[in-house]
């Protein structure tokens, strides 16, 4: 396509340094590289799937965002370029085409990859602490505050408890 010695933008570093020193050549090279990059950028995008309409595409994307890529675990299925993620996207898409609901597709995935594949862990025996732990902490905190306040009220005339005064002092110190 382009009869310029630049073959691959990824190998830009392998050019001989004396070439880089010639300024006009360098600028031209940069221009060509940018052109190549802008042309080849769509190639690196996530594999396109033949959605029948926009609603289906949005549904697919929403679902893929809730699923974890098993190969590179900090990415969602929607973002990952891993081969396994591409395979799973293809399968999720095929099941959508077959009329499966989101819940059925998730079940299909968890039967193979366990709850690990879901970013949002379902509520069951093993996860109740995860779901309600923060609530328990909040309740414990509220309880502690109520008890402290009541104690202080009962202490009546005493101006401050030791704890409150130290807390007040340290805040001033900061």
């Amino acid at each position: 396509m382009i009869a310029f010695p630049v073959r691959n933008p990824h190998h830009a570093g392998s050019f001989a340094p004396e070439r880089v020193r010639r300024k006009p050549a360098y600028a031209l090279m940069l221009l060509v590289m940018l052109a190549i990059a802008s042309v080849s950028a769509p190639v690196f995008a996530i594999d396109p799937l033949p959605f029948k309409d926009r609603t289906e595409e949005l549904r697919f994307q929403a679902l893929a965002k809730q699923l974890r890529c098993l190969q590179c675990q900090n990415e969602s299925l929607a973002d990952s370029n891993a081969p396994l993620a591409a395979d799973l996207r293809r399968d999720v898409f095929a099941q959508m085409q077959a009329g499966k609901s989101d819940a059925e597709i998730k079940q299909w995935l968890t039967a193979r990859y366990s709850d690990f594949v879901l970013y949002d862990p379902p509520l069951h025996g093993g996860t109740w602490l995860l779901w309600f732990g923060p609530l328990l902490l909040l309740l414990a905190g509220t309880g502690a505050v109520i008890v402290t306040v009541r104690r202080r009220a009962a202490a009546g005339a005493k101006p401050r408890t030791t704890m409150a005064s130290t807390a007040g002092d340290s805040e001033d110190d900061w």
Binding site: L70, D87, L88, D91, T110, R112, Y113, S114, T166
Partner: protein
């Protein structure tokens, strides 16, 4: 007096939690996906063998005796680390060693085996990677211990080492053999 110790107690509690987390993660890999297949029948499959694509092997063909299904590929770097262990100690397992060539070009896989040797009794090839998804494969190498009834007994993620054979695989294989004798 007592109330003064409360923040310290809270701090110690958080510290203990951190300590537990650190200790726990030394023995558990948080990236390891637990297999829901353990204790369940292996997924049904029908795959061509690597040597002869015309010949297909099903899970039923393999039933009747226990086997270790080892997921490998020529593109898999860690498989090279595992390979000598399978070459040296594979026979020691005393069960069939079935290679599962995962998302690999058959020509590459064959070249890889010619170069490093073939420890497998049989190799099935999953070029599209569909059966691998049914098995919950997340990468290579991974190994599944499947008993004579076709039940998945154990899954091991990452390269098998002599230590893994001694501590993880052998005890389970022995137990399986005792189980079938009953």
């Amino acid at each position: 007096m007592n109330a003064r110790l409360l923040p310290l107690a809270g701090f110690v509690l958080v510290l203990a939690l951190l300590g537990f987390g650190t200790w726990w993660s030394q023995y558990h890999d948080l990236r390891e996906v637990p297999s829901p297949l353990i204790g369940k029948a292996s997924p049904a499959f029908s795959l061509p063998t690597l040597d002869d694509p015309e010949r297909r092997v099903t899970n039923q063909d393999l039933a009747g005796e226990p086997y270790l299904l080892n997921v490998f590929a020529s593109w898999c770097f860690a498989c090279r680390e595992e390979h000598p262990v399978l070459m040296n100690d594979g026979k020691q397992l005393g069960i069939k060693l079935v290679g599962f060539n995962y998302k690999d070009a058959p020509a590459d896989a064959k070249r890889w085996l010619t170069q490093f040797g073939n420890p497998y009794d049989l190799i099935i090839a999953d070029v599209p990677g569909d059966v691998a998804i049914d098995f919950g494969v997340t990468g290579a190498p991974e190994s599944f211990l499947i008993d004579a009834q076709g039940i998945v007994r154990f899954k091991y993620i990452s390269p098998i080492t002599p230590e893994v054979i001694a501590t993880q695989l052998m005890p389970r294989i022995e137990a399986m053999k005792k189980g079938t004798r009953k």
